[in-house]
């Protein structure tokens, strides 16, 4: 047991820190997320810089353009990028890549993996629908084979990054005659296909990071199906389980920034002697530390060759608790100023953390998963 970096990890961290000190995109935070073309260009540029420096796909097999390193390196990357206040890492490439190199044909791998990595093609994932949120398997977007094309009709919801994306990993129903989990397939769809309309959804934080996508008679070549027909649910579950995990470490770096901001704010507002505020600050810090220790163990398990399983639900619940607690405290420290326009960051952080207990499987869904993992009786 050792919570410190190994010498190799420490060397990687040090050279990465050096790189980050000299490589960032000045002023990226000032680009409004709804300035789509500028924001997209910034994201592409940042991804390209990371790619050229060899910091993407650290954990992928070498044959697919990765570096074959252990997940610890991915975690260090997340941690350091967060600490440096650099633009966020391109979030989806790891699990999209995993889906493609696990389920894709040789041709699909050759075609999609290089541009996924270097950022030339930006992706989104079309999973949820208006009536298929937590109950994702009940999705209704229909794909019907017509010659060598699928004709797709339906609507996707909460498609993060859709307004920036060139392609979409889409879950569709190809068979209505079988149990709901078995009739789902996965298509790779260009977002500029005729019949695709993406409309931003502005969250209560004011950010348009997600979107709804309307699909009207969209023709997707059958060769763009990934995995067999009916394999979509399995594919989605494998990739989504990789969506959590190491990425949490990036959130931890963000919590670290918030903690520093809170300390400054508490001092500036003369609240440093307020016992109640001090205790809440300490508890917010403790919750972050508990999450960090949990992530360290999860990561170590993965490094030791154990796949991320339902234990990820514990981490997700610890994370949303820590993130929401921190933002609630920020809002309380800012007090009325957060509501009267004098100070806007904590209000925005507050609303930004609300969906953490909803997306990626709501807290209630995570508890259902844990109950199943605990082998509790089914009704």
């Amino acid at each position: 047991m050792d919570y410190r970096d190994t010498p190799e990890e420490a060397a990687f961290r040090q050279s990465l820190r050096g790189w980050l000190a000299n490589n960032t995109i000045e002023g990226w935070k000032d680009i409004p997320e709804d300035d789509i073309s500028r924001y997209k260009a910034m994201r592409k540029q940042w991804q390209r810089m990371l790619y050229d420096a060899g910091y993407l796909a650290l954990t992928w097999p070498v044959e697919y353009g990765g570096r074959g390193q252990s997940p610890t390196y991915e975690a260090i990357l997340n941690e350091e990028v967060g600490r440096a206040s650099a633009p966020p890492l391109p979030g989806m490439i790891n699990y999209l890549g995993r889906a493609i190199f696990t389920y894709g044909t040789h041709e699909q791998k050759l075609r999609f993996l290089p541009t996924l990595l270097n950022g030339d093609v930006q992706w989104c994932q079309g999973f949820s629908e208006p009536s298929a949120g937590s109950d994702l398997a009940s999705l209704r977007t229909r794909a019907v084979l017509d010659g060598d094309h699928y004709v797709v009709n339906g609507q996707k919801m909460w498609t993060s990054g859709a307004i920036y994306a060139d392609w979409c990993l889409l879950l569709v129903r190809t068979n209505t005659e079988v149990p709901k989990h078995k009739g789902i397939s996965c298509l790779l769809m260009p977002m500029d296909s005729p019949g695709v309309t993406a409309r931003p959804i502005y969250l209560h934080s004011g950010s348009p990071e997600t979107a709804e996508v309307f699909l009207d008679d969209v023709r997707v070549p059958a060769e763009n199906r990934i995995g067999a027909e009916g394999d979509g649910w399995r594919l989605a579950m494998t990739t989504v389980s990789f969506e959590r995990g190491a990425a949490d470490v990036g959130f931890i770096a963000n919590l670290g920034h918030q903690l520093e901001a809170l300390k400054r704010e508490i001092n500036e507002r003369g609240l440093a002697d307020d016992v109640a505020i001090r205790r809440r600050l300490a508890q917010a810090y403790v919750d972050t530390r508990v999450l960090t220790a949990n992530v360290a163990r999860q990561l170590s398990m993965r490094v030791s060759g154990r796949d991320p399983g339902p234990e990820g639900s514990v981490g997700k619940l610890l994370w949303s608790r820590a993130a929401q607690g921190m933002a609630q405290l920020g809002l309380d420290v800012a007090g009325a100023d957060a509501l009267t326009g004098r100070e806007s960051d904590w209000l925005s952080d507050y609303f930004t953390t609300r969906p953490t207990s909803v997306y990626g499987g709501s807290s209630q869904i995570q508890k259902n998963i844990l109950a199943r993992m605990l082998d509790m009786p089914r009704e």
Partner: protein, 345 residues
């Protein structure tokens, strides 16, 4: 980084768990019949009281092993003073460079030494403190505390045969005494430096936090099994989502607690005293914070049976709530953590 037990530590954990199962208190009636002297002898024979003995200045085992043993013994409600006599008194005496013979006797279990704590249980007490209590005093003839009149950090031993009497403590698995009259104190070893005091406190907080992880996990494991057997409305109560979510919430708290204790236990011997103490306070703040909610949820899910004297649920709750306050409750730790984050106030 590899935040997992190494193979030797895994073996140690298995051994400790096996031993704890043999010595477990399973229901309230066991408390009267359990052979407490034998339980302590077993701990000694298995080397659990010698973990912090020094060989060439180094402890035989690290904070990690102490934590694993404490989790195992707490989880089985083993009624033996492992924490005070077997770990924390030995550690104090070793840090003070005290007489080897006494350390030897404590680690062989032939003598036992409780810890003299302040009335609020938050810290080691001074031998002059007329309101002090002795914690984890089962079978102890001695207790160790501070004697500041002889210098800052000076330790002293008090004999428990006069000036102390047993109290009816909440925790039915560990004995407690209170000071009732004059005592004679004998200084022991050299005064502890500030840094050594912080090191010791880090180990103390980790030991009690680890006991709490064990206690809460033992209570939770019991009630989880119950939800898979108990039938109401013709179905097992564990099939109700309301009950499932209560169990999942306990699991999240306990897993998080285990993870932070694991880090703090590692930190005891690997980080400098300030960092080790901060890590230990993080662990204790979290565990003290969940001690009551988890104990209460356990009693709730058991329903009526969990409200009875005969049932084990309250034995866990009693030990948990005592642990929660020993060396300071959640707010004591939060105040100290806030001092570290914001500077003292």
């Amino acid at each position: 980084m590899l935040a997992l037990l190494n193979p030797e530590q895994q073996m140690f954990e298995e051994t400790a768990n096996r031993l704890a199962r043999d010595l477990a208190v399973v229901n309230t009636a066991d408390l009267k019949t359990v052979d407490r002297a034998n339980a302590y002898r077993q701990l000694a024979e298995n080397g659990l009281l010698a973990l912090r003995m020094r060989i060439e200045g180094k402890p035989l085992a690290s904070g990690v092993e102490v934590s694993l043993a404490a989790q195992a013994l707490g989880g089985a409600l083993v009624p033996a003073p492992f924490s005070a006599s077997g770990v924390l008194a030995v550690e104090l005496l070793a840090l003070a460079g005290a007489d080897e013979a006494l350390i030897q006797e404590l680690s062989e279990g032939t003598k036992r030494c409780g810890l003299l704590l302040k009335r609020d249980l938050s810290a080691l007490a001074d031998v002059a403190d007329a309101e002090s209590v002795v914690w984890d005093a089962e079978g102890a003839e001695l207790a160790i505390g501070l004697d500041r009149s002889k210098g800052e950090g000076q330790l002293a031993l008090v004999k428990l045969d006069s000036g102390f009497e047993a109290v009816e403590a909440a925790d039915l698995t560990r004995a407690m005494m209170k000071r009732t009259g004059a005592v004679s104190a004998e200084p022991v070893g050299s005064p502890l430096s500030d840094a050594d005091m912080r090191k010791w406190l880090a180990l103390a907080l980790v030991t009690v936090s680890a006991d709490l992880v064990g206690v809460l996990n033992g209570a939770y494991a019991g009630v989880l099994a119950y939800t898979k057997e108990r039938v109401q409305y013709g179905v097992k109560i564990g099939s109700f989502q309301a009950v499932q979510h209560l169990c999942a919430e306990m699991l999240v708290d306990i897993e998080g607690g285990r993870d932070i204790v694991s880090y703090a236990a590692w930190a005891v011997d690997e980080l400098d005293p300030d960092a080790a103490l901060l890590a230990a306070r993080e662990a204790k703040a979290f565990l003290s914070g969940i001690a009551r909610p988890v104990s209460e949820t356990v009693m709730q899910v058991y329903g009526g049976i969990g409200q009875t004297w005969e049932h084990i649920a309250h034995i866990y709750a009693r030990r948990a709530q005592t642990d929660a306050l020993v060396f300071g409750g959640a707010d004591v730790q939060r105040d100290a953590i806030a001092d570290a984050l914001l500077g003292g106030h």
